[in-house]
């Protein structure tokens, strides 16, 4: 095999994630559990936000945060791969995509469920955040479809990196244009409870849920990355066997 096998040397990642991923799973589960328990049973409901349905916030807000953060992470990983060609960066980008898409879809679904009683509609075209997140989902889906259509992992890495970088550069513009679009149509009462106006009772459960989801997300990324590393190793071994070396 010579020097080619030296290209991927993710030993340190495997060693690190071997204990870090379980730790993240455990901490994430505890924090999400605590956040949900607080959110569902302890904090008072807010009638102005639709009554009990506002408790979906403890999933919705972390999902929204992860939707944004995961696309940024994927774009950064792609950029890293494009510049330094470190295989681990590509493995990370590949692992983030389906998870990011899942949390993005979760954000849209919970937002829709929350929107029905508060806005009277499952889908609010005038809400800039909903629209931006929808386009984020499309960006994720396009990225995954493109990678899947390439006939080798090297090509998938290159094509994916180009698209993720183009997408990443476009995200601010998309966000800005959607904000402008919706500000023209602002006749509905957009929920503004997130942010500084948030009641203090919601703040800690929300923060802890957000942290918990992030840890869970990180753990899942590590798990998928480990699976990918082992898959590539197995493919390498198989290729070596077939070559009779």
């Amino acid at each position: 095999m010579g020097m080619l096998s030296a290209f991927a040397n993710p030993h340190r990642f495997l060693a690190l994630s071997n204990w870090l991923a379980p730790l993240f799973y455990a901490l994430g589960a505890v924090l999400i559990g605590w956040g949900l328990w607080q959110g569902l049973y302890i904090v008072p409901k807010d009638e102005y936000q639709g009554g009990d349905i506002m408790r979906v916030m403890f999933i919705h807000v972390p999902a929204a945060w992860l939707a944004m953060a995961s696309y940024s992470a994927m774009a950064v990983a792609s950029f890293t791969w494009f510049i330094w060609r470190h295989e681990l960066a590509d493995i990370a980008a590949k692992a983030i995509a389906p998870l990011g898409a899942t949390w993005t879809a979760l954000c849209l679904a919970t937002g829709s469920v929350w929107g029905k009683p508060t806005w009277g509609t499952w889908w609010q075209w005038d809400d800039a955040r909903m629209m931006s997140v929808l386009f984020l989902l499309f960006l994720f889906l396009g990225y995954m479809a493109l990678r899947a259509a390439m006939d080798s992992r090297q090509k998938a890495a290159r094509a994916g990196a180009i698209l993720a970088m183009v997408g990443g550069l476009n995200v601010p513009l998309i966000k800005f244009s959607v904000d402008m679009f919706t500000s023209l149509h602002q006749d509905s009462s957009v929920i503004t409870s997130e942010g500084p106006k948030m009641a203090a009772v919601y703040l800690w459960p929300l923060l802890m849920s957000g942290l918990g989801h992030s840890l869970l997300f990180g753990a899942l990324v590590m798990t998928l990355m480990r699976a990918e590393i082992w898959t590539r190793r197995a493919a390498r071994q198989r290729a070596r066997l077939l070559a009779g070396a």
């Binding site: 010579g2 020097m3 080619l4 080798s152 992992r153 090297q154 590539r232 290729a239 077939l242 070559a243």
Partner: protein, 200 residues
Amino acid sequence: MQLGQRVYSGDDVQLLTASGLGILRGERVLFEGVSLTVAPGEAMVLRGPNGAGKTTLLRMLAGLTRPEAGRVNRGAALHWVGHRDGLKPNETPRTHLKLWAKAWGADADVDAILNDMGLSRPADVAARYLSAGQRRRAALARLMLETRPVWLLDEPFTALDAEGRDRVLAMVAGHRQGGGAVVAAVHGDAGFAASREMVL
């Protein structure tokens, strides 16, 4: 162009060098540790069974495929004739050659080249009506548009009849006499006396 013209002088000059080339296809190592040098007047023939990587190596030398290991030094301009001819379905041999002469800034007598390649008759027929051999001739005719020291040819004889084959052999011989070099992937008998063979 004049075939006898000397395009590169000094036999110690390498027109093309490659060292330690390697590439993966998926996880399979297609080849690795491939090194070669091409000097003026040389003809190197790449051999090997289907799928051994002849085309891939040629594309690496041409700068089309990125090697995963190793490097290629191109010391001179090169012509590339891949196994796809590069003609558009609605292009005629004449418009094809004129287009590339213009794109390359080459001052070539297209009519004479068409004549040389036995393409005078179908010179104005759209490529979609041409036979595979005629399209091949049009692609090889690009070699005559501009003098470039290195020719990289992928299966140049594909679809050519005996007469076309002889023509290409004569072109190659003339090119080598003028100090040019050829690297070709060839199936079967190459016909031209290769100064070197490489088996992949």
